[in-house]
């Protein structure tokens, strides 16, 4: 078998190895490429900077293990930013089955239980089943929907929730998801109550959300790992997101090269497959 034949037959394995190398090498030896900050990310930062004591920030989470690498760093960065604003209330709600695990993980990672007072500064409502009906119920009347929070504490025993009945009391909602769940907050909180909404999304969902952003229906988007890296820089807390961007760059170059090489081979080979 000639080298050309071997390359032609085993091209898949060669491409897989090349992709692995293009990701692994920059992760082991970072290049240090500058990370640009998108306007969509900066808008969320600026909005949180304008929050006043007493404002209520709702962080919705549909973070799962599959999208952990993309969305969890965004979630942690934004939660940290909100926690730095004294007097701002944080309400955490999960509408994905794996959400509670990652919400609690973020709370532990940021040491929130020691920095703030549970029930006064922040509340974790936990997972609520039912998809859009759950979000609708939360926005309509939180106290009618839920009896207990994630820890099993009675809702009525939490002082923070005395003045929070529904979406009319939310200042901003930032939802972290990979699926059509983001539409639920728009349909229920924004459409009915005019609540300001932003998203933290995986890259695949960003194109849809961008149309909402340009129409002024959402005030920001944290776009995948890139957005998370930008947000970490904005709050001066570099984390795992920033480390992954060099690998993203080199791997993107590989993809571009593969598309161009493939098309070159196709046209030079007389358009034969």
């Amino acid at each position: 078998m000639t080298v050309t034949e071997m390359l032609g037959r085993n091209y898949k394995q060669i491409i897989y190895l090349a992709l692995f190398a293009s990701l692994a090498i920059p992760m082991i030896n970072p290049i240090g490429l500058p990370i640009p900050i998108d306007k969509t990310t900066a808008d969320i930062y600026n909005k949180i900077e304008t929050l006043q004591p007493g404002d209520v920030v709702v962080l919705g989470s549909n973070i799962g293990a599959a999208i952990y690498a993309e969305v969890y760093p965004q979630y942690v960065a934004i939660m940290e930013h909100v926690l730095r604003k004294d007097g701002v209330k944080l309400l955490l709600v999960d509408h994905g089955t794996e959400g509670p695990i990652f919400t609690e993980r973020a709370l532990q990672e940021l040491n929130v239980y020691n920095r703030k007072t549970y029930g006064v500064d922040f509340v974790h409502l936990g997972f609520i089943a039912g998809g859009e009906a759950a979000i609708a119920g939360l926005c309509r009347d939180l106290h009618a929907l839920l009896q207990v929070d994630y820890k099993g504490n009675s809702i009525s025993s939490l002082p923070m929730l005395d003045d929070i009945n529904g979406a009319q009391d939310f200042t901003i909602v930032i939802d972290f998801t990979a699926s059509a769940d983001s539409q639920f907050w728009l349909n229920q909180a924004y459409a009915t109550y005019g609540t300001a909404i932003a998203f933290g999304l995986t890259a695949v969902k960003v194109p849809d959300a961008y149309a909402y952003y340009t129409a002024g229906q959402i005030f920001g988007i944290v776009e995948s790992l890139k957005g998370a890296a930008g947000y970490e820089i904005l709050i001066n807390r570099p984390g795992i997101a920033a480390k992954g961007m060099d690998a993203q760059s080199i791997a993107h170059l590989l993809y571009i090269a593969l598309v161009l090489l493939g098309n070159l081979a196709y046209y030079m080979g007389g358009r034969k497959e």
Partner: protein
């Protein structure tokens, strides 16, 4: 008897839709209470629906084990894992207990990430082998994708500042035209199909036509 339930289902479809629609437009305390209860009942039913997949899976894999099909050891593994997670979750009383978190981080997190991440490799080999600019449309798609990749990757701006700028123009164009039109289409389409289901024209979601 089945006809009674089918007629009840059709009636429920319309009544609930009417109540929730009127609640949106008319501010009435009684209507709001009824609508809130309907909403919260749907949340409870949604909680029951979470177990449907498990029920179906248990039935299928139990049958596979009983009939000693070729894949029966995998079925044992699947059901065993399920029982372990359910047992641990109920025993510790929370999915955030340290024990549950440990086993979740050991099993679900790496497997889920790897399964979804596999696609990156398949897209890479498809980029070389399958993505051909054979027509104007496919050429446009690939050119747009290339410039957008330069926008997404920080290295694009390092190679030449013009590359991400062109990418940004393409991104704004696609966002303001294609994506917008897709969302309008989704909105109208969802409304149309929803109306068809409620008035009974579309029977598939309820289990097929009579």
């Amino acid at each position: 008897m089945s006809q009674v339930f089918k007629k009840t289902a059709s009636a429920v479809l319309i009544i609930v839709a009417v109540v929730l629609t009127f609640d949106y437009f008319i501010k009435d305390t009684t209507l709001r209470t009824v609508a809130t209860d309907m909403n919260n009942w749907a949340v409870v039913i949604g909680a029951f629906a979470l177990g449907l997949g498990a029920y179906s899976l248990v039935m299928r894999h139990t049958r596979a084990i009983y009939q000693r099909r070729a894949t029966w050891p995998y079925s044992v593994l699947l059901l065993g894992t399920m029982v372990v997670f359910i047992g641990l979750g109920l025993f510790t009383g929370s999915v955030s207990s340290s024990e549950y978190n440990w086993i979740y981080s050991l099993i679900v997190q790496p497997l889920s990430s790897a399964l979804y991440g596999m696609n990156a490799f398949f897209i890479a080999s498809a980029s070389y082998r399958a993505f051909r600019a054979k027509s104007i449309e496919s050429g446009l798609l690939l050119v747009a994708a290339i410039f957008l990749m330069f926008l997404n990757a920080p290295i694009g701006g390092v190679i030449h500042p013009l590359l991400p700028q062109i990418g940004k123009i393409i991104w704004d164009l696609s966002g303001a035209t294609g994506m917008r039109a897709i969302l309008i289409g989704i909105g109208i389409g969802t409304l149309a199909i929803g109306l068809r289901i409620i008035i009974g024209q579309e029977k598939t979601p309820l289990g097929g036509a009579d």
